[in-house]
Amino acid sequence: MIKNYFKIALRNISRNLSYTFLNIFGLTLGVASCLTIFLIVRNELNYDNSSSKANRTYRVTLNALDFNSNISLAVLPALRNDFPELEHSTQVFYQPDATMQVGQNRFREINLVLGDNQLTQVFEYKWLAGDEKTALSQPNSVVLTSTIAKKYFGNTDPMGQVIKFGDQATKVTGVIQDPPTNTSLPLNLIISMNTFFKQPSTEFWNISGGSYAYVVIPEHYSIKQLQSRMPAFIKKNWGADIAKDARLLMQPLRDVHFDQRYINNIVTPTSKDTYYALIGVALLIIITACINFINLATARAIKRAKEVGVRKVLGANRGQLIGQFMGEITILVLTSVILGVAVCALFLAKAGTWMNITISAGQLLQPEVLGWIAAITVSVILFAGLYPAFVQSGFQPADSFKNKVSASKGGLSLRKALVVAQFSISQIMIVGTLIVAHQMDFFENQDLGFNKDAVISVRMPVKEKREVFEQHLATMPGVKSYCVSSGSPSYNNSWAPFSAPALGFPKDNVTELKFIDEKYTDMFGMTMLAGQKITRKAPTDSTNKVVVNETLMHDLGVQDPQKFIGQLINVSGQQATVIGVVKDFQSESKHKKIRACVLQYNVDRFRSASIQLQPENMPATIAAIGKQWSQLFPDDVFKYEFIDEHIAAMYKQEQKVFTAFQLFSYIAILIGCLGLYGLISFAASQRTKEVGIRKILGASVQSIIGLFTREFVLLIAVAFLIAAPLGYYMMHKWLQNFAYHITIGPAIFFIAIASSLVIAALTTAHQAVKAALANPVKSLRSE
């Protein structure tokens, strides 16, 4: 019996290739998309989960003026002393990039970490060479990841080799396997902490950017209890005043990637909602593919009614017929799943480029993933197969032979409902994609309060050579203008407390601090609202003059910029006079509200040059800058970054989501189109006689095309009524993740319904026109 089922299933599949293709192609794309999304989401939701102790690992953070990921290097030694029961604890100092020298070769490397032996125990890196207990004990030791070891030394044994880091020569004492990419502490090299930090720090407020502390609590240890003891711990070690202003928070490591309150993270945290939304997209895609199955199968059921009748006449009972139809769908689904897994592997290979996510295709063979694949297979077989199987097996033989089953009103209504569901899904996806695209455009191109176009940022490693470098820049024909500072407006790495007792604000608040030269505000096209710009200051000048942004002024209760000129404020404990107020500019991503900012002249902090290039021949100008730079700083590697690219990088997570939305929306729409094409083809073949009669009675080609398309236009309109409020609700919720976001206007919904109509028209046009142009004599004869 089973053999017979499979035989007839295979023959049915091979005899109805177009139907088989529509179903298998759609479902293959659906399964591939679904699996890819699941793997992406699993990767993201498993951030910082590679260690077996991940659930017991906490990042020690500071909550004073803000939620700060960085804490003083003084905290960890005290914690170790007062809480000896902690299983592990470690503090790292993260440096985003540095120049490493191996022999005569120099490498600009990212993700450098200073750490101790416990670091590798907390994160459980896998050691390929060296002793994890001692590798980082001695100063000037360095542990490499396997990729870096290969890059620097090829097939030579890296152990004992010397790598220069600045003026420090370090010796390779270990090699670890590359850590997973889904970590909030990415690293390529670990240099022993005591290479640079010889004496333990004792100052609570001496917080270096890039210093992070982690503890692992013992099993069955109460984190709540540890947390409750923190105020007493601060009081005991640093006094009651600090204990009053500051809190040390134990942030679960597994939450780091998703807690958007914190500043100074290495990897920008993201919202879990985004990934839940992607799972929703995956489900919508697979539902769309299943709807195709159901629609095409129930439409074709009419064709198979005779077969059902014959089988029943010959003695088949309903269960046997359901078994037969389920067998057929099982073959189609299994074929699609196998192809889908292969396509998913291709998607994953491209995901690195499209979405900046690295997921190995080997994960598809993991037992958990195989379990998902099995679950998807069974769900699709049941969801897509059961209804058509019940419908088809329910035909009465007498009706089948009299062709009475074609008038099945229930089946038709369901098909319409499912087409409406498909169009609703497509329109929600279109609305979602459009809104994400607009928001991305808003991120990158809306007024930031400064000019970012054609500006590159270049480090200046040796401050003594700054002026010489500036002189070179001044003479270069391709350089339109330049300035030096602690960083461009979109670089934000220095924070300070500020207060204004004279204005009635004696308590410290937090401000961003930027050190800029006199050319900075002009070069970046920043708007002064009142007062004067920062001016050059002689080394002997002891006056402290600052320009502040509007937000700082508002924080201090002043609305009129003119009235704020000449006011005295305290910045980092020093009194400063406000000489100007600049219009707010975006120094952080648009996830956050613009915060207070102080601009100050300080020649000692000018580590970065921002250079605006003439639009002509930019590559040659950059090459010329690089040549001069390399001559001035021969021990370093020239690296530059366009500021607009730096800004775009702030929205890397959103870009990932956008790319995913875009890609999977196209796929969902394509799958829907396949189903629609199948339905219209079927409708055209079913209505051949009707079209023939209409044409003989005088119907025009247009009216025949209208006959086929009218119904779909109505269904699209109904779908729009469902999709518009749902799409609005979901995307409005998503936009709430950002402090600055677009307003959802009617244009987006107009585009969504117009796109649906165009897509449906293009999908149905071929078959509708073919039916309309068919020779009526032939169609009636064939009837």
Binding site: N4, K7, R15, V310, R311, G315, A316
Partner: protein, 225 residues
């Protein structure tokens, strides 16, 4: 073998009720060959569908071998049908996706006959119908006469007690039609009861008795000598 008493069947739409069988009573004895004739819409096919347990009557009684089957559920009807009744249709109703051999084998599969026995029985019946040389062909590759012979082979492969034939020569030329009628006659002579719906007086003459229907009622019975 078959006794129907005051059998009724209505077809209803929202506005119209059509009486297909109007308190029809017929007896058919085992081994009989009965032809049912009448104009279109007189209820011939409806009667055949009810006799074949493909359709439910709306009233009356239907005794099959002394058992009341009018109120059988679908499973019981399928069971009774597959063991006792063979069907031959005007339009053959072969399954296009199956070969001649597989089409004839299908009833044996549904009655659970073991594979080895199926082969022997199918070959035997194909041989008898002189269609053995076409065993691996698909229905579309056969002529109408050949297709009907396959349909007859399929109807008899389970050795049914009753064959219901619905205009079995309606789609055939006279030569092929005669061949099919000869086949049915042979089967009847071997003891199979046959009830045949036909428009053809010529075909009806092969039967023992002709029942003529009009508006769902018997209007005349002719005994053939």
């Amino acid at each position: 073998m078959i006794k129907i008493t005051e059998l009724q069947k209505y077809y209803r739409t929202e506005e119209v009720e059509t009486i297909a069988l109007n308190k029809l009573s017929i007896d058919v004895k085992e081994g009989e060959f009965v032809a049912i004739m009448g104009p279109s819409g007189c209820g011939k096919s409806t009667l055949l569908n009810i006799l074949g347990l493909l359709d439910d009557p709306d009233g009356g009684s239907y005794l099959f071998n002394g058992i009341e089957v009018a109120d059988f559920n679908e499973r019981k009807r399928a069971d009774l049908r597959k063991h006792n009744i063979g069907f031959v249709f005007q339009s053959f109703n072969l399954i296009d996706e199956l070969t001649v051999f597989e089409n004839v084998e299908l009833p044996l599969i549904y009655t659970g006959v073991p594979a080895s026995e199926r082969v022997a029985r199918v070959e035997k019946v194909l041989d008898k119908m002189q269609i053995m040389h076409r065993r691996n062909h698909y229905p579309q590759q056969l002529s109408g006469g050949q297709q009907q012979r396959v349909a007859v082979a399929r109807a008899v492969v389970n050795n049914p007690k009753l064959i219901l034939a619905d205009e079995p020569t309606g789609n055939l030329d006279s030569s092929n039609g005669n061949e099919v009628m000869e086949l049915l006659t042979d089967l009847n002579e071997q003891g199979t009861t046959i009830i045949m719906v036909t428009h053809s007086e010529h075909d009806a003459r092969y039967s023992h008795r002709i029942i003529r229907l009009l508006d769902g009622q018997t209007v005349m019975e002719n005994i053939m000598i």
